[in-house]
């Protein structure tokens, strides 16, 4: 009896160092500096899931490169192409790629395509990101208010959303921007003003699902105001859905900007955007097809990569969808 007892103690002492070693690494999985040894938090688990998705990681790298290319536009202009995006070289207009020192050729005004591509990307990405943020702010607040308060407020707001949803967004945007020359920031807000309806429905649904949960009731019992409940208790719970929505919406918004600028209604010359570079180029399809091909390819690669990152994020942030 005693011997088995001591054997057990010995066994425990034997594996104790291993137990210590297993518990020892006080790694900060949560990134919150608590140094606890509990299971990794939501975000680090999501990041690990994302890293396993090879396609999404490659897409993220390419997206980062494209963003870097656009951010470095002034450097590219000064050190690589030696052209500004607005200077005309009419004598050397429509150079083929490589001709007359134009690496990717020159457009109908003799402007350098590569420089304009970098500066145009800034505008296209800026408009898309800004529009996504504005849509989230507008649609998010409307959806949250509608879902949280319900009643006639809900009815009025959601009928307004229905009205917007039953006109093609592009048609509305064409209407608005045909009488008004928006700056890139204004264009983003215009796009947001006509496209918030979808998000407001999404957020409304999430809020409806959350508002009768116990932690919301608990907050209310503790005397929290409506605005506090919405901003501190409901919003943090819909952050993952919003991130996924934004990463899947930005490609669509890049396309919207491109389509508008392509029709000559978005960003206007001499300021380049990928869309208005296409608009400028379409008259030269017979002679200089690279002028059409290059900006479109940039739009395409960007949209494709952000899409792939977005669906990677969706799978990583919402394990329920992982099948």
């Amino acid at each position: 009896m005693a011997s088995t007892e001591s054997a057990r103690v010995a066994a425990i002492e034997d594996i104790q160092p291993q137990l210590d070693a297993a518990a020892l690494p006080e790694r900060d999985w949560t990134g919150l500096g608590r140094g606890d040894t509990s299971a990794p938090g939501y975000w680090s688990r999501a990041w690990r899931r994302f890293r396993r998705n090879r396609v999404a990681v490659i897409a993220l790298i390419i997206t980062t490169l494209i963003i870097a290319f656009c951010l470095a536009a002034p450097l590219i202009s000064r050190y690589v192409t030696h052209f500004t995006y607005y200077e005309n070289h009419l004598g050397q207009a429509l150079s083929q790629p490589g001709e007359n020192d134009f690496i990717l050729g020159s457009d109908g005004n003799g402007r350098d395509v590569l420089t304009r591509l970098a500066f145009g990307g800034r505008v296209s990405l800026l408009v898309a990101v800004l529009a996504a943020m504005s849509i989230l702010i507008i649609g998010g607040s409307i959806g949250a208010v509608a879902g949280y308060f319900g009643g006639w407020i809900d009815t009025v707001l959601m009928r307004a959303a229905d009205v917007l949803l039953s006109i093609p967004t592009l048609v509305l945007l064409i209407l608005v921007s045909s009488f008004y020359q928006p700056s890139p920031a204004e264009l983003a807000i215009l796009i947001a003003l006509v496209s918030w309806a979808g998000v407001s429905r999404l957020i409304r649904g999430e809020v409806l699902a959350l508002k009768h949960r116990d932690f919301v009731d608990a907050a209310r019992v503790l005397g929290a105001s409506n605005s506090r409940i919405i901003s501190r208790h409901l919003f943090p719970n819909i952050v993952p859905q919003t991130i996924v929505w934004a990463s899947l919406a930005i490609p669509g918004l890049i396309l919207t900007e491109a389509a508008l600028s392509y029709l000559g209604l978005g960003v206007r010359a001499p300021q380049p955007s990928w869309g208005n570079m296409l608009q400028d180029a379409k008259q030269y399809v017979r002679t200089n097809w690279t002028l059409v091909f290059i900006p479109g390819l940039m739009i395409y690669i960007t949209v494709l990569c952000i899409n792939l990152v977005g669906s990677g994020l969706r799978d990583a942030l919402d394990p329920r969808l992982n099948q």
């Binding site: 307004a160 009205v163 006109i167 048609v171 064409i174 045909s178 009488f179 490609p251 389509a259």
Partner: protein
């Protein structure tokens, strides 16, 4: 069912009022009016312009004009186009068949390609074929339709012509040299319809693939297999018929997208359709024309959604509308 349809039709009324009111408000804040282009005419005297403005009712505030417009519409009159003073209804009806031909062809093309591709991909789940289809479809989904249209023109109209191959016409709806056979119409239709349908092809293939995969995993499919049915019958008679149902809704929801896409595509291919008409109207402040086109777009969209719901209910006995 009849009650459901009636209620949905009634619900369309406030929505259409909202759509027209919103559009009218936006159009009214446009600086300049249809008359401002006439001011460029040196023979137009100020009092003439004033008279024209009064005749068109442009001297009244916009909300008053909205109600005048609305009461005309309720009597079935969409007014006169302000650019060439022909009835809006005539102009719309004149080009509507062209737009329906384009969007209808695109829709049919998308279904013809997407359904077999999605089903085949799901049946051969995780095979190389499935992987290729998934990759191609993901790649296609991100292509901007107007860029695709330009690329099609570059390849099939410009380059094929240069290389001495039979090329496709890049512009218009038919040969202007009098050669107007059915083949010529089809030749003109191929590229715009293809460009317009690519997004739908990509989206629907993906959708049908996942819907089909879900159906194949169901118990009734296992039952069908267990009782010894041939694979053909299991896939097409049991899984496929259930997997295809939600597509009806998707087609209904795609209508605004197709009409919106037609705006761009008609512009690129000089296709004489509703999108081009509406676009030109916005460029020239022709507000009766804009209103007519918007009303039609919105009504078609809503009717499309309603039709999708009705067809869904007819096709799926589990769905009941109260």
């Amino acid at each position: 069912m009849t009650g459901f349809i009636v209620r949905r039709l009634l619900q369309m009324i406030p929505l259409l009022l909202g759509v027209t009111f919103l559009t009218f408000a936006i159009v009214s804040f446009v600086p300049g009016s249809p008359v401002s282009s006439m001011q460029l005419n040196p023979r137009a005297r100020p009092e003439d312009l004033e008279r024209i403005r009064q005749n068109l009712g442009l001297d009244k505030p916009w909300y008053e004009r909205y109600f005048l417009w609305l009461s005309d519409v309720l009597r079935g009159d969409l007014g006169l186009s302000l650019t060439n003073f022909t009835p809006v209804t005539d102009r719309i009806l004149g080009v509507l068949p062209n737009t329906l031909l384009l969007t209808g062809t695109a829709l049919a093309l998308a279904l013809i390609v997407a359904v077999p591709l999605g089903v085949a991909s799901a049946v051969r789940h995780n095979s190389p074929f499935d992987h290729v289809v998934t990759a191609v479809v993901t790649a296609l989904a991100a292509i901007p339709s107007f860029w695709m249209a330009l690329l099609l023109i570059i390849l099939f109209a410009v380059k094929f012509d240069e290389w001495g191959l039979p090329s496709l016409p890049a512009q218009g709806m038919q040969d202007l040299q009098g050669n107007t056979g059915i083949l010529d119409r089809i030749e003109h239709l191929i590229m715009p319809a293809l460009a317009l349908s690519l997004g739908q092809i990509a989206g629907w293939t993906r959708f049908i693939r996942s819907s089909m995969l879900e159906a194949i995993g169901q118990d009734y499919v296992r039952t069908a297999r267990a009782k010894g049915l041939v694979e053909q019958s299991v896939v097409y008679r049991h899984a496929f018929r259930n997997a295809i149902l939600p597509l009806v809704t998707l087609v209904g929801l795609a209508l605004p997208e197709l009409f919106g896409g037609a705006y761009l595509i008609e512009q690129i291919f000089a296709w004489n359709g509703l999108g081009r008409l509406a676009f030109d109207a916005t460029q020239s402040n022709d507000y009766t024309m804009i209103m007519g086109a918007t009303l039609l777009f919105a009504a078609l969209t809503m009717l499309g959604n309603l039709l999708a719901d009705v067809v869904y209910a007819l096709a799926d006995p589990r769905i009941r509308y109260q």
